[in-house]
Subunit: 261 residues, 2 copies
């Protein structure tokens, strides 16, 4: 099938087809984030405002682990498509950041510190068997996007990290202030991401500004960022439906009421 036509049809008015300057492109990307990044989702406000109970925070951490787990798979798929050794050297750092140098090191391991601190069973978290199906579908959509689209679009889909520092700051402050079951140590993942994410995002932003040389490519870059915002947003949608309102937990998914606390 034609993945472009299937995933992201976007109609553009015929008059709006002129090449953007790199600065105009950046402004459009930032406008997409301002409208569609998941810091605008109600679940984000509830999480960081201390309005969730422990079971709801567990559900968030457990489902978000699936995203963390798949980030190096996504980056390896992207790495496998880069012809330029210089660009591969830069991009491979993302895999190092998530997988670490040894057992217990790296972003995935730090996320497991959080699920540990929340009292979730590691085997349950790592097995993925209590995930919301929508979480899995969204994360797989991200991996497939990076595998199947152009390298430019794959790199552009990482641009949500442009907006990560704000959300991470809110998350750490809000969770420490509001949840007695969350400690600074449990949130160590976010300390690392606070300096990794801007580096990664600035590199990717510079890349797409330099390599999107036609208006079609610039539109594809914007669509890739919209797509990625949809991935993150739909993960919070699924959590909201299952664990906030109307608490419609799909068959087989994590149910905090059935967990030993």
């Amino acid at each position: 099938m034609n993945a472009s036509a299937a995933d992201l049809p976007r109609a553009l008015a015929p008059h709006d087809r002129e090449l953007l300057s790199p600065e105009q492109l950046e402004a459009r990307l930032r406008a997409i984030g301002a409208e569609r990044y998941h810091d605008k989702h109600p679940f984000h406000g509830l999480l960081h405002g201390g309005q969730l109970d422990r079971g709801q925070v567990q559900a968030w951490a457990l489902n978000r682990f699936e995203y963390q787990r798949c980030i190096p798979l996504k980056d390896a798929a992207l790495l496998a498509r880069i012809e330029d050794p210089q660009l591969r050297r830069v991009w491979r750092q993302r895999i190092v950041d998530h997988d670490g140098e040894r057992e217990g090191d790296g972003g995935i391991a730090r996320w497991l510190h959080l699920t540990d601190a929340l009292g979730l069973d590691r085997e349950l978290v790592e097995s993925g068997r209590a995930l919301l199906p929508a979480t899995r579908f969204a994360v797989q959509a991200y991996i497939h996007f990076v595998r199947e689209r152009s390298l430019l679009e794959a790199i552009a889909s990482s641009l949500t990290e442009l907006f990560a520092p704000t959300i991470i700051g809110q998350r750490v402050a809000g969770m420490l202030a509001n949840y007695d079951f969350v400690s600074p140590k449990a949130l160590a993942y976010f300390d690392s991401r606070l300096h990794q994410a801007p580096q990664d995002a600035n590199f990717a932003l510079d890349y797409v500004k330099r390599h999107a040389r036609t208006r079609e490519q610039q539109d594809a870059v914007c669509d890739a960022l919209r797509f990625k915002c949809e991935v993150l947003w739909s993960m919070l949608d699924a959590l909201h439906l299952a664990y906030v309102e109307p608490r419609l937990i799909p068959p087989g998914a994590f149910d905090p009421r059935r967990m030993p606390s």
Copy 2:
């Protein structure tokens, strides 16, 4: 990545590893449908019980069109993996059923009669631009499953059709009784599926009963059906969140309040 480990981890107790008889396998498959088929979803009850307004039925038909649109893509991906001409001859009929013999014929065209009857703009429906992202992710997950898993699992994932006649019967009767904006002509799609679905399902059921020759294959067949139930269930989850409760419509998705009625 290893798609099996990523998508469907299932732990089985060590004592539960004996080969099932074909009848036992069928009983397990029917039990999965009894628990997880989307006729158990609250949205189904609301839709067929006449408790939705026109905008909510529009949202359902618009999003479900994405599934209909992709069914022949899924079946073509499956067809492309079948070595046996005899099996290919049987399977290709599914593509004929959905695409028809000419413009305006077949299941996709009949679904568009429904969206027409509901007052949806065809260009909007066919463009896919107002879809819930979760709909797209679920449907793409189905296509990727069929592309990437074994032929046995790909065929097994079609087994939700075993449970379709009941839901179709409820749907047609319930929608005609409850919605004055739905006519028998608008529901012509379902008339065709009432005889196509059982034929297709019985063939696929017979196939998996004959070709799942190890317990691992039998478990994979059950997992494939669970996966497919999750695809359909998560589509109703997304509709429920956006259009029933708490009416959290993702950025860019169809909003009945903004439609001319």
